[in-house]
């Protein structure tokens, strides 16, 4: 199911070069199948929640929703295929470089509020399909809003340093010792679903703590507590069965009958409730197999 990590591709990504396998697709018309698969990738990657200003009845994917973080307020951009205000002029390579290297077509660094730190693991096919889907959506003319960031975060050039410190580009490699379900779950959680962006604690400069994957944090990206989703018996979700997890990702119901609120409700509404049962089961199986960690 997974391509082995191509070390050459990884190296090229590290060097900031674009070595995208599906380059030939730029000019080719995307197939209907690719568009359909891309719609699924969009759900699994949770693009809608941040790129749609639902609160102000914004058009899907047209951006503008305020994203308050400890580093300032971000306004995710318009990713509809509008030529002037959206990404209508983007090639599949542009999308690949944005999602997997955190760089705009003009070479500028993106702030990691855009979770390329996770998307970097995306498979070539998923990027190509997502591009096909995005280009097939109705274009919406809506100019991007500048982020509201205090000094020194306003200096985009500093992001190059941040990325050198915290960003590890590279495709999802998988674990050959584990079965296909586990690997699919790992890919969905770590790359597409970017679960760690909220559920993994971060250091002072916003780098994810690699020693505490998915162990939760007292102060998440929006300043609120984000739960530990490792199978730790007391502080994680060790008492959840896999069926509890899949049911939660489908419906938003906790095992005790309460419903998810806040950011997770959006993740479920816009994302995981649209996945197929096999993918939700893969996520549950993978989470179940994580090292149990205490905290936050």
């Amino acid at each position: 199911m997974f391509r082995p990590a191509l070390s050459l591709t990884g190296l090229a990504a590290v060097l900031g070069l674009v070595a995208f396998g599906a380059a030939a697709q730029t000019t080719a018309q995307p197939t209907a199948e690719s568009v359909t698969r891309g719609g699924y990738v969009l759900r699994a990657a949770g693009c809608l929640s941040c790129h749609t200003d639902s609160k102000n009845k914004g058009q899907p994917l047209a951006g503008g929703r305020a994203l308050p973080t400890p580093f300032g307020t971000f306004y995710p951009p318009n990713i509809t295929p509008d030529k002037d205000t959206g990404i209508g002029g983007w090639t599949v390579e542009d999308l690949s470089r944005a999602m997997r290297e955190g760089r705009a077509p003009d070479g500028r660094h993106y702030y990691p509020a855009f979770p390329y730190t996770s998307y970097t693991g995306m498979a070539d096919q998923d990027v190509a399909d997502l591009w096909a889907y995005l280009m097939a959506q109705p274009p919406v003319a809506r100019a991007n809003q500048p982020h509201e960031l205090p000094l020194p975060f306003r200096f985009r050039a500093l992001l190059g340093i941040w990325k050198a410190m915290y960003f590890e580009p590279g495709r999802f490699a998988g674990n050959p010792a584990k079965d296909a379900t586990w690997n699919r779950g790992a890919y969905l959680v770590a790359a597409l679903g970017h679960c760690g962006e909220c559920h993994t604690p971060r250091g002072a400069l916003g780098g994810m703590d690699g020693d505490r994957p998915l162990a939760g944090t007292a102060k998440g990206p929006q300043g609120k507590k984000v739960p530990n989703i490792t199978p730790h018996a007391k502080e994680g979700i060790g008492d959840w069965r896999e069926s509890d997890t899949t049911f939660f990702l489908k419906t938003g119901f906790f095992p005790d009958g309460d419903v998810a609120g806040g950011a997770m409700a959006e993740v479920i509404d816009d994302g995981t409730s649209h996945l197929n049962d096999a993918d939700r089961a893969a996520i549950a199986a993978y989470l179940r197999d994580l090292p149990p960690l205490p905290g936050p």
Partner: protein, 153 residues
């Protein structure tokens, strides 16, 4: 005649015609409200067990759906002014409830409507259809919790 006059005066004074929650201690009010919410959660949790296939009591779902529906009719009475999480620490009820009461009441009505549909679907006995409607019930819960309930600390 005098009795009737007294009764009217009393009802004007104490609001006896409407639920007399103003007279209840806010702490007790909050405790009661949480018990009602837990009752709803208990029923949805029980239905979830059926939908997940953990238990085979498909025939019980209607009773649980009725439980949710009955409780949902009480919700708007459970939030007297001043019982928000700013004034009391034992509640997650946000002041937004009283700032946009119409929206809050509409959200409570949505739970009544969706749980009424769940009763109908439950009578069909199809676990798949029950699961789908339970999802709509969950959305109704969420559409009220999202704007009106603080996240857990």
């Amino acid at each position: 005649m005098r009795k009737i006059t007294l009764a009217i005066a009393a009802s004007l004074l104490f609001g006896a015609a409407s639920p007399a929650f103003a007279a209840d201690e806010p702490e007790n009010m909050i405790k009661y409200r949480k018990a009602v919410m837990s009752a709803i959660g208990g029923h949805t949790g029980a239905i979830a067990g059926v939908v997940k296939g953990e238990v085979s009591f498909v025939g019980h779902v209607e009773a649980h759906a009725r439980g949710i529906n009955e409780m949902s009719k009480l919700i708007t009475q459970l939030f007297p002014t001043g019982t928000d999480n700013g004034a009391f620490k034992d509640t997650r009820a946000l002041p937004a409830i009283w700032q946009d009461r119409a929206k809050f009441d509409a959200a409570a009505q949505a739970l009544q409507d969706e749980s009424a549909k769940l009763i109908e679907v439950a009578q069909g006995g199809d676990a798949g259809a029950i699961g789908a409607q339970l999802q709509n019930v969950g959305k109704a819960c969420g559409s009220c919790h999202k704007p009106f309930r603080a996240e857990k600390k």
